[in-house]
Structure formats: structure tokens, C-alpha cells
């Protein structure tokens, strides 16, 4: 009789999606939801067409426009190439029968924001997208990861993806987050400890009381940046927080199916005695608001810290690119731009947290600050509760939904040399515009920087309000 073998959450998700397993070959995994956007799909659709193939499951495939959409001035992209790319997505979706939320639709938005808000992202699913931040969806207890364009084509054609089994890592965050410390700081603090390579070849489960205490929005922020320390996917076991977020959303199960689904979802936890290949433990009480000083997310210090002395060749390059000197207090670094947006931090809760810091204050002279909601639905909800007025009264620009200045594929970019406090996920050289300098922070920290015109400890502003 087979004995009970304890498994991790990741192993359960994997096992339940194996279509075919054969020695010496990668497992063939079934994909429950394939998200598609305009930038990484054109070549995949073209490949299908040339080979005379069609999309196997258009009913499990959803497209939106997010990467290069304009965030103001109507629905037309600023440049010819972007327009062509958006037009092509529309044609491809029409031909294949794939639902598309294009610019102008009430459901349009960043692909990793709309999946969850539509209730399409559910526990126990496999979700892929031609975008590395697909790890976001793991917050629901799903196995979700980014893929390349060739893999997009494979999934379009077969609804499956060959994948080699990966190792399991646990990140356990116990305790209570101090005031002013957010989910963004949990993941920035984590990457500061692990560096940006440690996750390679692994799936990660985030555990512990501090993770359990996070909202779904917070869990999405943490899972979103899993790729920034090299892991392929991050996940959190589903619980009542997950179920109450999902209940009643457009694509969530209803009635008896809801009961059946929740019963199953409750089984999606790592079994007692299951072993991980490694565990990283973090004491929540020791975390602070963090800010990056360099050109990768692992080059990060607490806001109370200083620009460190370089320890490696990438450190030296980063200091030169960022035009910073070791020993400079982080709080002495002035900024010219603020970006509140991206799939990391542009959900309603993020905008509320930023607005709470901003209310009654003004953006510092010489700072250009903008808010780009993660989706049209987030934008409308924020406007309903008057957050747009808070931002606008303070001097922020209030834009339409999209990826915007997280990666600068539309006109929202930094000028060379400009320094930006950004709630996005990557501070790579030129990420927000060639020559631009990015400091990654949480939404309240970005709001505080906008008001003070420099990087600043948001806890000082909260204390004064």
C-alpha cells in the first residue's frame, strides 16, 4: 500500500497539472490560464499561422494591452510601431477568438492586475504569460510564471508547456511588520539578503505569520518580485483572506461550485513534514522601509542607511551609473521624478496608502510626480473614493492604466540623468528611460519622496500627521 508522502504546496500544484511524465524528458504541464499582451505575442501568433496551427483553447486565453499603451491623450499610441503592435494583437485575437480587453475597455489594465481582479486567478491553477512578473498570481496559491515567446507559441498551440521540475525554497517571515513597513519592504528586505541569484532554479513558498497577515494586494507585491531574486515562481497557500478576496468576482465559482472549490483550495497547503531544499527566515520586526541605491533590486539598504562601499564589479558600475558616492545618507539623495504604478504596486490598496501620506500636502517644487493605476477598474474605484482628487490637489498627474514608466515603452520615461523614486520592480540601467536613475520604494515611501523632494523615511511623515 502506498504510504502518505508529504508534499509542498508547489509539488501539489505541479503534480495536479502533469499531462505526461516520461523519464529523461521535461514534464508536460497543463496550463489553466494563458495571459497574452501586445509585446511578447506577435511572433508567436505568426509562428502558429505559418505552421497552419490554431489556438487550442481560446476559452482559457485572455489578452489585454498594457506594455506600450498611452496613459493620457486618448487611446492611440504615440508611435507607429506601438500602434501596429496593438493593432496586430487585435487582429490575432479576432482571428483566434480570444477575448481582448483593449485600451478604452473598462476591464483593460496591466495583465497581472486584471487577472486577479476579474477572479480569473484562482488557487490551484497554473498560469503563464510572456512576462516575468507572472509570478504575481502565485499570491493566490497558483503556480504562475513568465515564459518566452516560443513558449507562448507552444501554449497557444497545445495549452501545455514542457517544464523541468524545479527545487523548492521556503521564505518564512514571522512576527508583525512595524508601522510604515509594507509588503514591498518585505520583498526588498528579502532580496537585500539573498542577492539576485539565490532563487535560480527554484519555486518559492512564502510562509509565516507576517505573510498570512498580508492582504491579497500585499501578497501579490511579494510574489511579483520573486523573479527579482532569480526564482521562477513565488506562492502563498490560499486561506480565508484569499477566499474572501475572490468571492463574488466575475469569474469566481458560484453556489455549489464555490463550496466544492473552497474545499479543494483548503487542501492546498504544504503538508506537515514536507521538506524544502532550503529555508530563509526573516524576523518581520527587524524590517524597515527600504530603498535601492544601485542598478539591481539586490542593491538595497534601509532608508536610514547610507550608500554602501562597493564590494564587487557590479557595485562599482552601479555607483557610477547612479552617480552616488559611498557613505552618502540615503535621505540626502534628492529626486526629480516620482512614479506610483506597475504590476508591483498599483492596486487600490497601494494608491490608498500613498494618498494617506499625501493628503493635505503638496508635491515638492521641482518634482514631477505621476500615478498610473494598475487597471482601468482600479482607476475608476480610486476615483469613486476621491483618491484622484487627493493626488491632483497635491500636484500629481493622474493617468490612465498601463505599465507606463515601469519599463518606459510608451512616452512616460525619465530623461537622461533624472532620478526617480518608483514603486516599480526594476532599477536596471535605463529601465525607466536611457540614462534614468531609479530608486525602488513602497507606495508610501514614494509619496513621501514626492512631498520632500528627496528620499525620506515615511515614518517621519506619518508621525507628524
Amino acid at each position: 500500500m502506498p504510504s502518505f508522502v508529504p508534499r509542498t504546496l508547489a509539488q501539489k500544484l505541479w503534480d495536479s497539472h502533469v499531462v505526461r511524465s516520461h523519464a529523461g524528458e521535461p514534464d508536460l504541464l497543463y496550463v489553466d490560464l494563458h495571459l497574452v499582451h501586445e509585446v511578447t505575442s506577435p511572433q508567436a501568433f505568426e509562428g502558429l499561422r505559418i505552421a497552419g496551427r490554431s489556438v487550442r483553447r481560446p476559452d482559457l486565453t485572455l489578452a489585454t494591452m498594457d506594455h506600450n499603451v498611452p496613459t493620457r491623450g486618448g487611446v492611440k499610441a504615440a508611435d507607429e510601431l506601438s500602434r501596429r503592435q496593438m493593432e496586430l494583437l487585435k487582429e490575432n485575437c479576432e482571428r483566434e477568438g480570444i477575448p481582448l480587453y483593449q485600451v478604452g475597455s473598462r476591464r483593460q489594465g496591466i495583465v497581472h492586475v486584471i487577472g486577479p481582479e476579474l477572479g480569473l486567478t484562482q488557487p490551484g491553477m497554473t498560469i503563464v504569460c510572456g512576462d516575468s512578473h507572472t509570478s504575481t498570481h502565485g499570491a493566490f496559491g497558483a503556480l504562475a510564471f513568465g515564459i518566452g515567446t516560443s513558449e507562448v507559441e507552444i501554449v497557444l498551440a497545445t495549452q501545455c508547456l514542457p517544464q523541468k521540475r524545479l527545487g523548492d525554497l521556503a521564505v518564512t517571515v514571522e512576527g508583525e511588520l512595524p508601522r510604515g513597513v509594507t509588503a514591498k519592504d518585505v520583498v526588498l528586505g528579502l532580496i537585500g539578503r539573498t542577492g539576485i541569484q539565490q532563487g535560480q532554479g527554484h519555486l518559492v513558498e512564502y510562509r509565516g505569520s507576517a505573510i498570512r497577515a498580508l492582504s491579497m494586494e500585499g501578497r501579490m507585491t511579494v510574489c511579483n518580485m520573486t523573479i527579482e531574486w532569480g526564482a521562477k515562481a513565488g506562492m502563498v497557500a490560499p486561506d480565508d483572506t484569499t477566499f474572501s478576496y475572490l468571492e463574488g468576482r466575475p469569474h469566481a465559482p458560484r453556489g455549489l461550485e464555490w463550496e466544492v472549490a473552497v474545499d479543494y483550495w483548503r487542501s492546498l497547503a504544504t503538508d506537515e513534514g514536507a521538506s524544502f531544499d532550503g529555508e530563509i527566515k526573516i524576523d518581520a520586526a527587524q524590517l524597515e522601509p527600504y530603498v535601492t541605491w544601485g542598478t539591481n533590486p539586490g542593491q538595497v539598504v534601509p532608508i536610514t542607511g547610507r550608500v554602501p562601499a562597493p564590494h564587487s564589479e557590479p557595485d562599482e558600475r552601479a555607483l557610477a551609473y547612479m552617480d552616488l558616492r559611498p557613505g552618502t545618507a540615503m535621505e540626502d539623495i534628492s529626486i526629480e521624478r516620482v512614479f506610483i504604478g506597475s504590476c508591483t504596486n498599483a492596486r487600490l490598496e497601494d494608491l490608498r496608502a500613498a494618498a494617506a501620506v499625501i493628503a493635505g500636502r503638496k508635491v515638492h517644487a521641482g518634482v514631477r510626480a505621476m500615478v498610473v493605476p494598475g487597471s482601468t477598474s482600479v482607476k475608476l474605484a480610486a476615483e469613486k473614493e476621491g483618491l484622484d482628487e487627493v493626488f491632483k490637489a497635491a500636484g500629481f498627474e493622474w493617468r490612465n492604466a498601463g505599465c507606463s514608466m515601469c519599463l518606459g515603452m510608451n512616452p512616460d520615461i525619465l530623461a537622461p540623468g533624472e532620478r526617480c523614486a518608483s514603486t516599480s520592480n526594476r532599477n536596471f540601467e535605463g529601465r525607466q528611460g536611457a540614462g534614468g536613475r531609479t530608486h525602488l520604494v513602497s507606495p508610501p515611501m514614494a509619496a513621501a519622496a514626492a512631498i520632500m523632494g528627496r528620499l525620506v523615511d515615511v515614518r517621519d511623515l506619518i508621525a507628524r500627521s
Binding site: 506594455h67 518566452g148 521562477k232 526594476r426
Partner: protein
């Protein structure tokens, strides 16, 4: 995809760790809808700065890129592997690669070879000191060899077979259509449809 069993040629040393795909192919070139023609845009911003190592005359025509650890981290853009291929490289040697980049490389027909740090250091130094030095990356016997050295490397056996035979993934997995149908017949009814 064309089968690959061996890449022989000169090396170009890019002695940097943590090279992200935003550097390999900046965002403005992701607006192209073609699968080829990305070569001129590879490392666009770094090349624009002038004096970029890969642009040095002695490294022109190199087919093996040797570089630092965690190569290809960040964005999943396959355009990064297309750019490196289009610029004429056929193999990349590093002490580690980002997972998604490595997968994309195989699909692009670019051979990614992982060697220990000390051996990569030797190759970086060799390529810098003697740009005419040639190496052979032999996928069949899983070794990188040059004058006076032979370094064995490990590679996923399935990826190796696909590269050696030039197999098209989709055709390969379409063969398992009955497994897919069987799996689909057991999916729970409450799973969401986008319709």
C-alpha cells in the same frame, strides 16, 4: 530549427555579472513584430556609450560570448536571445544563467554552457589576452576545448537532444494530443473560462 552539435570560433569577453535582458535588448526594440533583425540593437545603450568591449575590432566575428554569472536576469523577453543570435553568436559561456533566459536560448538555438567560475575566468582572461584564441563547444561530447584545456559541462539531457536534432517543440508535444485530451476530460468544472 537547425541542428547544432558543435560551435567553433573566437570568444568575446563580456566580463560583467548580472547582465539583465533590459541591457541585452532595450525596450524600444520590443516594438518590432519580427523574429529576426535584432542584431544591431544588442546592448544598444552600452554600445552607444562608446568603447564597448564587444565592438572592439579584435572581437569582431567572435561566435562564443563569455560572460559573468546570472546572465540574462530580469525580463522574460526572448528578443534578448534573438539579438545575441542575430549578432552572430552561437554559444554563451557563463557560470550561471537566469532560468527563463536559458529556456529561451534553447528555443532560439543558442547553446548556453555553464562552467565553474574559475574556468569561466580562464576563458575571459584568454579571450582578452589573445583574441585570436579559438575554442570549440562540443555538444555531442559536452566539452569546451581549446589549446591546452578541455572543460566538461553538464546540460539538461532533453535540451541537448533537441539542439542536436534541431527538434521543433510544438510538433514534439502535439504527438501527445491524446494525453492532453485525457487530462482535459478530468479538469474540474469550476475552473474559470475567460468567455
Amino acid at each position: 530549427m537547425k541542428p547544432i552539435s558543435k560551435v567553433s570560433g573566437r570568444m568575446a569577453p563580456l566580463d560583467r555579472a548580472d547582465v539583465d535582458t533590459d541591457q541585452i535588448i532595450p525596450k524600444q526594440f520590443l516594438k518590432r513584430i519580427e523574429r529576426t533583425g535584432y542584431g544591431p540593437f544588442m546592448f544598444f545603450d552600452w554600445r552607444a556609450g562608446g568603447d564597448f568591449v564587444l565592438d572592439k575590432p579584435e572581437h569582431q566575428g567572435a561566435t562564443v560570448l563569455v560572460t559573468g554569472s546570472n546572465f540574462g536576469c530580469g525580463s522574460s523577453r526572448e528578443h534578448a536571445t534573438w539579438a545575441i543570435r542575430d549578432a552572430g553568436y552561437k554559444a554563451i559561456i557563463a557560470s550561471s544563467f537566469a532560468d527563463i533566459f536559458r529556456g529561451n536560448s534553447y528555443k532560439t538555438g543558442l547553446l548556453t554552457v555553464t562552467l565553474p567560475e574559475s574556468q569561466v575566468r580562464h576563458l575571459l582572461d584568454l579571450a582578452t589576452e589573445d583574441p585570436t584564441a579559438e575554442v570549440t563547444v562540443d555538444l555531442e561530447s559536452q566539452v569546451v576545448r581549446g589549446e591546452g584545456f578541455e572543460y566538461r559541462f553538464e546540460i539538461d539531457s532533453f535540451a541537448r537532444q533537441c539542439l542536436l536534432k534541431g527538434l521543433d517543440d510544438i510538433a514534439l508535444f502535439e504527438q501527445h494530443g491524446s494525453n492532453i485530451e485525457e487530462y482535459e476530460s478530468h479538469r474540474p468544472a469550476w475552473l474559470p473560462s475567460v468567455k
